[in-house]
């Protein structure tokens, strides 16, 4: 049932809806039927119950009737037995009423009609009998009546009672039957109802099962199929028996599956096609990339590339065979081929190389510079020859693609096919690509060969340069001639590719060459050369020297001339065949020679000769250097001796001078005392004069000796700890007579807690004495103050001795010369005040030795203050090294006239010192700043007349400071001189700009700047050198408005060209330009005398990037490296600039204001 029932249901040609409805209706019908049956059974049961009740009633009636009848009969019988009229009458009436009983019985016993009829009949007979009896009795026939009654009436009555009884029994039996029947009927109807109920449930289940399975089955099947389809199995169909929607769905499904199968099959085919296409493309790509790889990997060997190209092209285009040709503009040659039969190759080799002609396909492709595609050569009547050959070689279709380099044919690729099937467009494209690759390969080869040639050339040059460099280095770095010459000869041998070499030095006196250095020469030959010096004019070297030209022997075995010489014999024995000798010449003088030896015969190339000549030049230099060095060494030895002699002389002299001086000083002093004692007062002043003069002479000698010791670096420090106050007291006591001499007074002010210091006591004392005696000398009736204080700063404790006088003072220029030894600009000072002019120089030197310094502040007529600043703990300086100059704090020279101030911004103390000296010489006041930040601060505070600014500073560099200065409206008009001095090289560079403008240009500022350079006779030419065309344009308009004639240049070089054409009155210059930048431009401009005075306004960027900065500073450094200016030149230039800015009038006034020169204050 499991399969067939759903199948049956599935086969029912009705919709699922209908089926469900039918099933539902069937269920309903069944239920109704079940209800009807139930009802009928109920009715039947009710009827039977009714029957039973009726029967019961009948039985009751029967029993009553029986009872009544029996009683009747009895009474009749009894009445008959007693024949009395009354009784007879009552009996007759009773009988008559009995008749109604019988009637009702007849009515009740309708189903026992026969029996009832019988009873009636019996009853009626009974009555007749009774009536006859009665009659008889009445008739007096009592006996007869009784007889009758006994015979007939009793029997009749008995029969009747029997019938009645029978009726009751019958009714009772009937009722029992009926009850039984009813019981049976109930059981039957119960089973019927149960049966119907079970049947309905079963039917419902069957229907439900059948319908649902008829639905689920196909659905499941569909599901499975769908899965199969999803997994790619389109072949499966749905076998659904359903004739309903599912059937339709299944049909649809199958149709769909079929379609899917179809389309899938289609798709597969397409994919297969596409895959094939792709794999073809891939194959092509692979082939192309493989070829590219080959092109890249073997630029030297192109044959594999060509082979690969032909092979790939032929294979990828389904060609039978392929060829690759090269064309040199005239001749076509076969370079590579693929799959050619031996006969075919032979035929081709007979044809090619050949002049390009249109006879061949390749020739046509090359000459026409186009692709030749002949799908079937036999159908091309034009090419009879070709078609014949095609037949011979078995091809029908031809493709020839030219290889073009920049449109010029350099070859062609040819692919042939066996069958007349045209090449597809993509195949033609492919072959074109291959042709391009072949071109690349050829081009690569050409480039590579060129490169290689150049590299080789370069390598050779580099090697030569390197060798020469090494040699030059050897020449310049070592003065050991042998080392240098060995280096030269080894390089010469290596670079010239020879086997051995030797260098000789020529001795002019003996006219012989002596071996000085050799390379790879056997011991035997060395010995031979040493033992047999070469004479001028003999041997190869000798001849080379004599002829002043290289001499070479191409084959020693072929040269009989010198065959007998010992060296020749050794050379031959050692297997040398050729040699080359280069003479060393200097101004036509022979210095020596270089020989190289080779183990093979043949001449030396000119390159080798040239190279060796270069080495010869180097050797000459080396020999020359060595000789010079020898001379210098001799000289310096002599000088050393002389210097030693000088020192000894000085020591001796001082001793010799001092001995008599001792006597003069001692005796005069003694005499002075004795004269006093003896009362010879008149002699005292004269003796004092002798004493004084002697002392002066002694101090002179001592100073000279000190200075010579300092200069020789032989002045030593003797460090000891001493209390400062007693030392001061001692010095003051010593200087007392001098103080009193000019009626001066001294004020000593020692700060509390001065304590002790560690220094060279003698030198401190000497310094203080010197300064105090100076102060006394230059002050008349004034106060000389000595203040001593201890100062604690970051780097330790310092003792400051400040000596102030109310003397004549000094000009800045004088002050600057103060500490220089032997600078006696004005001898009148010496005459007037005495002194050697060495005291301050010596004192300053002493202080420097102790790590301190003396500074001076002075103004003419206002006295001077000297400050001795010494460390509280002097440390032993390293031998032979003076302590560095203490960094001066901003030096401010007070000027009585309020001279123009120059702010020097520079991080280098040496430069500040230099600028200070130079500026004070110019009579200018100088303020120094050690950093850009400090510079800007001081500029704001002091508003200097000119600022000099170091370009290269750490931290905030010159450009940043410049921009900051120019951005500040208060400071923007202060002229700035960009200046960089390198101390090491004593070189400097000044950016000689009259002013600076910052980008973006503020036009107001431009106007203000231009105002200063007012055009004298408009129109004046102005040159704008600026690479930014738009800025140039803007500037041009502005300047033209101001009546200037504008000349434009986009860089320094063109700027110079324009200047040569027309000299401008003013230059606006950008610093950062391509080709020739502003620095280079300025440098060139300054080389021209006529251009030097043209004011230059520099334009710099306001915001400089690190890169800009690097570039600017790089330019400055480059100029510095070139050695722009010596210090003197630089100072001269700066002087010019400062003068231009400050104005000549002012400068002149300052110069005139120099009074008496008190610089010499020893």
């Amino acid at each position: 049932m499991r399969q067939w029932l759903p199948l049956l249901f599935a086969r029912v040609p009705a919709t699922v809806h209908t089926k469900l409805l039918a099933a539902f209706l069937a269920m309903v019908v069944l239920l109704i039927f079940l209800g009807a049956v139930g009802l009928r059974e109920l009715r039947e049961s009710s009827r039977r119950t009714e029957d039973v009740v009726n029967l019961q009633k009948k039985i009751t009636a029967y029993r009553q009737l029986q009872h009544d009848t029996t009683a009747q009969l009895y009474s009749v019988a009894s009445a008959l037995l007693v024949p009395n009229e009354q009784t007879l009458e009552a009996t007759l009436r009773q009988l008559k009423s009995f008749t109604t009983y019988v009637d009702s019985l007849q009515f009740i016993a309708d189903d026992q009609a026969a029996l009832a009829q019988q009873i009636r009949k019996d009853y009626e007979q009974f009555i007749q009998v009774v009536v006859q009896v009665v009659e008889l009795i009445r008739g007096g026939k009592i006996a007869q009546g009784q007889e009758l009654h006994l015979t007939q009436a009793s029997t009749q009555a008995e029969r009747l009672a029997q019938s009645m009884n029978q009726l009751v029994i019958k009714a009772e039996i009937d009722m029992a039957l009926r009850l039984e029947e009813k019981k049976e009927a109930f059981a039957t109807s119960r089973w019927i109802v149960i049966g119907f109920a079970v049947g309905s449930i079963g039917l419902a289940m069957v229907l439900g099962y059948a319908i649902s399975w008829s639905l689920i089955g196909p659905v499941k099947q569909m599901n499975t199929r769908l899965r199969q389809i999803a997994s790619g199995d389109f072949s499966q169909r749905l076998a659904v028996p359903n004739r309903d929607e599912l059937g339709a769905l299944a049909d649809q499904f199958n149709t769909m599956a079929e379609q899917l199968q179809d389309s899938y099959a289609n798709l597969e085919q397409k994919v297969e096609e596409r895959t094939k296409e792709l794999s073809e493309t891939l194959e092509q790509q692979t082939a192309i990339s493989e070829i590219m790889r080959r092109v890249g990997s073997s630029p030297t060997d192109v044959q594999p590339v060509f082979d690969a190209i032909v092979k790939s092209a032929a294979r990828l285009c389904d060609g039978l065979f392929g060829q690759l040709y090269r064309f040199d503009g005239e001749i076509i040659s076969l370079i590579a081929h693929y799959n050619l039969s031996p006969e075919g190759l032979e035929a081709l080799q007979r044809t090619f190389p050949a002049r390009a002609s249109r006879v061949t396909w390749v020739g046509r492709a090359i000459l026409d510079r186009t692709v030749i595609h002949v799908p079937d050569v036999t159908s091309d009547p034009e090419h009879q020859f070709a078609s014949e050959r095609a037949r011979a070689l078995g091809y029908r279709c031809v493709l020839a693609v030219p290889m073009l380099r920049e449109g010029i044919p350099i070859g062609a690729i040819r692919i042939s096919r066996g069958e007349p099937k045209p090449f597809s467009a993509s195949q033609i494209e492919l072959v074109k690509t291959f042709a391009d690759q072949a071109v690349i390969a050829i081009e690569n080869l050409r480039l590579f060969q060129e490169l290689q040639a150049q590299t080789q050339e370069l390598t050779r040059t580099v090697e030569e340069m390197k060798a020469l460099g090494e040699v030059s280095q050897a020449v310049s770095s070592t003065l050991d001639l042998e080392t240098v010459l060995t280096s030269i000869v080894s390089h010469a041998v290596q670079l010239s590719g020879t086997d051995a070499g030797a260098i000789y030095e020529y001795d002019e006196t003996t006219e012989q060459f002596h071996l000085r250095a050799s390379h790879r020469i056997e011991e035997e030959l060395v010995k031979g050369l040493r033992d047999n010096p070469i004479h001028f004019g003999t041997g190869t070297v000798g001849r080379a020297a004599a002829t002043r030209a290289p001499v070479q022997v191409t084959d020693l075995l072929q040269e009989p001339e010198y065959s007998g010489s010992v060296v020749r014999l050794i050379l031959r024995r050692l297997g040398y065949r050729s040699l080359l000798a280069i003479p060393f010449l200097r101004e036509d003088r022979v210095m020596g020679g270089l020989s190289v030896y080779r183990r093979e015969a043949g001449s030396f190339s000119s390159e080798v000769v040239n190279l060796l000549q270069t080495f010869a030049t180097q050797s000459v230099l080396a020999i020359q250097n060595a000789r010079l060095f020898r001379e210098i060494a001799d000289k310096s030895r002599q000088l050393e001796g002389a210097s030693r002699h000088k020192s000894e002389f000085l020591a001796n002299m001082s001793h010799e001078l001092r001995t008599p001086l001792n006597a003069i000083i001692g005796y005069s002093e003694m005499l002075e005392e004795e004269a006093g004692d003896l009362g010879q007062e008149a002699f005292v002043p004269d003796l004092q004069k002798i004493h004084g003069a002697g002392k002066h002479l002694l101090s002179l000698i001592n100073n000279i000796l000190d200075l010579s010791k300092i200069e020789a670096g032989k002045m030593d420090l003797y460090l000891e700890n001493f209390e400062i106050v007693p030392m001061i007291q001692e010095v003051v006591a010593t200087v007392k007579p001098l103080i009193e001499k000019n009626a001066n007074t001294i004020q000593v002010n020692c700060a509390d807690g001065l304590g002790a210091m560690r220094a060279d006591l003698t030198k401190v004392r000497q310094t203080l004495f010197n300064l105090l005696s100076n102060a006394c000398k230059f002050t008349q009736r004034g106060i000389i103050a000595l203040r001593v204080a201890r100062e604690s700063v970051d780097d330790g404790h310092w003792i400051n001795f400040r000596i102030s006088d109310a003397g004549i003072g000094m000009s800045p220029e004088q002050a600057s010369k103060l500490f220089q030894a032997f600078t006696q600009a004005d001898t009148s000072t010496t005459r007037k005040y005495g002194g050697t002019g060495l005291g301050l120089a010596i004192s300053q030197n002493f202080c420097h030795m102790m790590g301190g310094e003396i500074t001076v502040q002075s103004a003419l007529g206002q006295g001077s203050t000297f400050t001795v600043r010494l460390p509280a703990e002097v440390v032993e300086p390293k031998v032979g090294q003076l302590p560095p100059l203490e960094e001066p704090t901003p030096i401010a020279l007070q000027s009585s006239e309020g001279a123009p101030t120059v702010l020097v911004i520079d991080d280098d103390p040496t430069v500040r010192d230099l600028m200070h000296r130079f500026l004070s010489k110019e009579g200018l006041q100088m303020i120094a700043a050690t950093s850009g930040e400090e510079g800007i601060r001081l500029a704001r505070e002091l508003h200097p007349a000119v600022i000099t600014l170091d370009v290269l500073m750490p931290g905030m560099d010159g450009w940043a400071v410049l921009t900051a200065l120019k951005a500040d409206p208060v400071l923007s008009n202060i002229p700035v001189i960009m200046l960089t001095i390198t101390d090491e090289k004593q070189m400097g560079y000044a950016l000689g700009a009259a002013d600076y403008l910052t980008k973006p240009i503020e036009w107001e500022r431009l106007a203000a700047v231009l105002q200063r350079y007012e055009c004298p006779r408009p129109p004046c030419p102005v040159l704008i050198v600026e690479d930014d065309a738009s800025l140039r344009e803007l500037l041009r308009r502005r300047l033209q408005k101001e009546q200037w004639t504008v000349i434009e240049a986009e860089n320094g070089r063109s700027g110079l060209e324009r200047m040569a054409q027309r000299q401008p009155e003013l230059i606006l210059l950008d610093l950062m330009m391509p080709e020739m930048d502003g620095f280079q431009f300025l440098e060139e401009v300054r080389k021209h005398e006529a251009w030097r005075s043209i004011p230059v306004i520099v334009i710099t960027a306001k915001t400089l990037t690190a890169e800009d900065r690097q570039r600017l500073n790089g330019s400055v450094e480059k100029i510095l490296q070139k050695g722009a200016y010596s210090r003197e030149e630089l100072i001269r230039e700066v002087r010019g600039l400062v003068a231009a800015f400050i104005g000549t009038r002012q400068m002149a006034r300052v110069e005139v204001s120099d009074g008496e020169d008190p610089a010499d204050r020893g």
Partner: protein, 125 residues
């Protein structure tokens, strides 16, 4: 009065210094070279020696060394006199055993201070 041995080869210096010292009340004996000086120092046992360093026969450095090496003269203070504070003269003198040092030409008051100081030191302990 203190006895001073002056070792000096230069006659003028010798004469001048001895006279000036005698004028100050010292008893001065004279030696003209190092060897003689060492000898006198031993024989005369002066309270103090003033010695030039550049002496003939036996120079001052060597003489000082000998004086300081010998037990009988070790205690006598020596003041070295040199022409000028030449390179390391002072150190050399102290090293050789001299107790003090002065430069010529003589600054008499200074020298007297030094003499007195040394004599005081000698008698003090």
């Amino acid at each position: 009065m203190a006895k001073i041995l002056l070792i000096e080869d230069n006659e003028m210096n010798r004469d001048m210094l001895s006279r000036r010292l005698e004028r100050r009340g010292y008893q001065v004996s004279i030696a003209v070279d190092g060897e003689q000086g060492v000898g006198f120092a031993q024989s005369e046992a002066p309270d103090l020696i003033l010695m030039d360093m550049s002496l003939p026969v036996l120079n001052g450095w060597e003489a000082a060394r000998q004086l300081k090496a010998a037990s009988e003269t070790r205690a006598i203070p020596i003041i070295a006199l040199t022409a000028h504070a030449m390179l390391g003269d002072r150190e050399k003198a102290i090293e050789a055993g001299c107790d003090d040092f002065d430069t010529k030409p003589i600054d008499l008051p200074r020298l007297l201070d030094k003499i007195e100081a040394l004599l005081a030191r000698k008698t003090a302990p």
